[in-house]
Structures are given as C-alpha cells and as structure tokens.
C-alpha cells in the first residue's frame, strides 16, 4: 500500500486521497483500482436495461479531445458519458486548431472558458494528459485515453474488470502479455494494474526487438518463446502489432511474426484449458491472433468492449464526484 506522503504527491489524487484525474495506473493504490472495478459492476446492469441511462452527470460537459485518430476508444467514452446523461463534445483536433498552429494549452484554455467539466485526452505525445491536468482549474477532471507509449489506464482497468469477472480473484493467477510491449501504452498500464492488484506472476512474451530495455524492473518475467511463456497461463493478454508505430524495421515480416508469436489454437492449447484470451482491439487477424482463437470459446474480446463502457462510466462518476 502506498504511503500517505506518496499519495499526496500523486498528481492523480486530491488532498483527501480521492481520484481527481485518471492519468495512469502506475502509483495508484489497490483500493482506488478496486473501487473503480466495484463501481463498474452496477453500471453493467444499467447498460443491460431498456433505458440505458442514469441521471448522474446531468448538466456536465465532457470534452473528448482526440489529438490522435481513434474510433473505438472515442466512441466508448462518448457512449459512457451519454449513459451518465452528460453532454459530450467530440473534438478531432488532429484536423482542426492544431493544424492552424494553436498550442495544446491554448486549446485547453479555450475549452475551459466554455465551462468544460471533464477532458478525455488522447495524444501521440507521452505526458500530454499530465500536462493538461497540471494546467486546468481544480474543478476540472482529466482522463487519459492514451498518451504516446506511456499509459492507457481505462483500457487496463476494463481488462482487470474482465479478468475479475471470469476468474474472480487476482491472487492466484498467472498472466501473460504477448506482443509489441515496446510500443504499447496498454501493456504498461496492464502491468502496473496487475501487480498492484496482487497478481503473483505476470509474464511478457515478445521478440527482443519489441521489448523495452530493463522491462524486468516492472516486476515481470520475460519470455521470448511462446511455448515456454504460455505454459500453465490463466490469462492471455494479446497486444496489437502497432504497424503505425514501427519507426524502423524491427520485424522481418508480419507473416514471420505470426509464425512465432501469433496466437493459434495450437499455441493456446499450451495454456491452462480454461485460460481466457483478451485483446484491446482493433485486431490484426492473422498477425497477432488467429481468427479461430479470436472468435473461439476462450475469447473474451467482445465482453471487454461491453465492460469498457461500464468501467468508463465508473471512472467518470468517481472523478465528477470527488
């Protein structure tokens, strides 16, 4: 458990130790992560009703600031906000004011002057959401929806929610994260969340060229070989091969990658028989995952999308109420 002093230095927490911004899963105490997961449970029920809406954030304005293209994440944040009765404004800034030369903080100042209550930020630069959180007035909340290679906390939280729903407890699990760890903000957020929630064994499986230096320091076991890494695993968290982030040729070809690291039924059979398969989407079928696995019985990829809305509703309500 994090000490009180460390908590007061955490830019995500207010002086009462409540969540003020959600920027990263790193450094958040287990109690805060579990509170988000617990709060998401009743929201799953809300999203299954005829009227999929509660009046909690009525009158609040939530700005989706997407400086980087994204359809799925932006849409799930938009649905989550609307199901909380908030007003949502989507700004695709990659094609608007930034191209006219406005700075990030000028954009935020302008939107704050329009009485924004919350910003959901996606940016190609690591630290963009932190910068905005440090800059805004204390009554404004910031959610990081993915910054560079750094963090994607709501994705990690919906993954934790999905794992807990399927496996009930974190304390006896062996979890493997497979693929492009180097470029993946999802993997970093997953590793911090898994270790904080008490998963005793987190493995990363990737070729050497797709692993960050000294990744072991995050408390993970490193494997380069699927046959060894997947043995007796309870949860497989696949990552998307990030073609658009590959600055240099780190792989001979996607076919070669699929041969060694693509999740086929044969490789999945090495894990425990009741192992579940997660993927943050969008999937590259035939690159990191075989269609037979993606659409198979052990896949929980579509439930992840459904739970993602409930988890984002929980995060927004907790922030707005702090």
């Amino acid at each position: 458990m994090t000490s009180t002093r460390a908590m007061s230095n955490n830019p995500q927490l207010n002086k009462n130790g409540q969540l003020q911004h959600l920027l990263t899963t790193e450094g958040l105490p287990a109690s805060i992560l579990l509170n988000i997961l617990d709060t998401a449970e009743p929201f799953v029920g809300v999203t299954e009703r005829d009227v999929k809406k509660v009046p909690l954030l009525r009158g609040k304005s939530i700005f989706n600031l997407f400086f980087e293209p994204s359809t799925r994440t932006r849409t799930t944040f938009e649905i989550a906000a609307k199901r909380l009765s908030a007003d949502v404004i989507n700004l695709n800034i990659a094609v608007s004011s930034q191209s006219k030369g406005e700075t990030l903080l000028d954009t935020v100042n302008n939107l704050s002057a329009m009485h924004a209550d919350m910003f959901v930020v996606r940016h190609a630069q690591s630290g963009a959401a932190h910068l905005i959180a440090q800059h805004v007035r204390p009554e404004i909340h910031v959610i990081n929806a993915g910054d560079g290679r750094h963090a994607h906390p709501t994705q990690a939280l919906l993954d934790m929610f999905t794992i807990r729903r399927c496996k009930r407890d974190f304390h006896n699990l062996r979890v493997a994260i497979v693929g492009d760890i180097l470029h993946s903000r999802v993997a970093r957020s997953q590793i911090h969340a898994l270790t904080t929630l008490g998963v005793p064994e987190v493995r990363v499986i990737a070729p050497k060229t797709l692993l960050p230096a000294k990744v072991e320091r995050l408390g993970v076991h490193v494997y380069h070989d699927m046959a060894k890494g997947l043995k007796d695993v309870d949860v497989l968290m696949m990552l998307r091969l990030q073609n658009e982030r590959m600055l240099s040729a780190r792989l001979p070809s996607t076919e070669e990658y699929f041969k060694y690291y693509g999740l086929t039924p044969e490789k999945l059979a090495l894990a425990k028989p009741d192992a579940i398969v997660l993927h943050p989407g969008p999937m590259n079928r035939g690159v990191e995952i075989d269609s037979v696995v993606a659409d198979g019985k052990q896949s929980v990829i579509l439930p992840q999308v459904t739970f993602g809305i409930a988890v984002r509703m929980a995060v927004m309500s907790i922030l707005a109420g702090s």
Binding site: T39, P42, G45, R49, D50, P55, S317, G321, S322
Partner: protein, 169 residues
C-alpha cells in the same frame, strides 16, 4: 430512547399489506435495510412475482455535494415493470429523497401501473411531498440521530439509534 421491536413492526406491516395484494403485486426493496424487509415480506405474503432490489446511488440528489456512495450494489428488477403493481419497501422513511430517487429509477425500467410505499418506521421530517401507504410505526427521532435497521446473527431484524457523526448509542 426506547425503540420498538423490528420483528413486531414487520408483522404489523405484513398484515396491512396482505389486504391490498393481487397476483400482479411485486415488492422492491431499497438497499440495504429495505431489501431485508422486502425479502421477509415477499416470503410472508407468498408473492408470485420475483423480489426486486434497488440501489438508488445513481439517482440520488446529493451527488453534487458528496459524490458517489461507496459500495454500490447492482439494482435487480427481475420482473416486467410495465403495468406491474409495485410495493416499494424501505426501513426508515425520513426526508423522502431516497424514495424520490427510487421512483425515478423504477421508471427507467418501465411504466408501472402503480407504486405504493411501505416503511417500517416513519420518523417524520419530510422534505418532499411523499407519503407511505403502509407504516409499521411512527416515531419521533431527533434530527441529530440516525435510525437504522440491522440484521442480527440469527437473521432477526432490529432497530438501532446512532449519533449522526459517531457510533452506536
């Protein structure tokens, strides 16, 4: 302060409600005390429709002041609300704000034919125009006190009085 026996009041409440039920009557308890009462009423009245439970946290009017309540339980309405006759059950009726929230939530499941309210204790102090059709007892409770239903180890229900910012009296 002498508190009445919750089990006696429950018997009074059950007898009152028995007069007004039909095959399409459903009971819905409000977490947590109301759900314990609704379970007992549901069993005692042998109702055909399954028991419902509401956690009104997403409908409360104090979210702007105090934020989200911790430990929210999922609401569960396992029958068709449209056209049903609902008896809403809570342990202590006070300001009426919880009941307002519960009625709003029920309407997000459908349009009930009717909603009636049953409370074990009416302690007065209403801040909204809300009244209960079935009441176990009325009780004068000072504003600084909190009256709450508890479930004992043997499963029996009991009432306790608290100071609002302290522990059990």
């Amino acid at each position: 302060m002498q508190l009445p026996e919750a089990e006696d009041l429950l018997a009074v409440l059950t007898a009152q409600i028995r007069q007004g039920i039909s095959s399409d009557t459903a009971v819905v308890g409000i977490h947590t005390g109301g759900v314990w009462l609704a379970e007992r009423l549901h069993r005692g009245l042998q109702l055909a429709l399954p028991l419902g439970a509401l956690d009104v946290s997403f409908y409360r009017d104090d979210f702007g002041q105090i934020g989200l309540h911790p430990q929210i339980r999922p609401s569960d309405i396992p029958f068709k609300v449209e056209g049903s006759h609902i008896i809403l059950v809570d342990d202590v009726l006070y300001t009426g704000r919880t009941i307002r929230a519960a009625i709003n939530e029920l309407f997000d499941y459908g349009r009930p034919a009717s909603i009636r309210l049953a409370a074990l204790i009416d302690r007065g102090g209403r801040e909204l125009p809300i009244a209960a059709q079935y009441i176990g007892a009325t009780l004068e409770v000072p504003p600084a006190k909190m009256l709450a239903l508890e479930k004992k180890a043997d499963g029996k229900l009991g009432l306790s009085l608290y100071d609002k910012h302290q522990g059990n009296e």
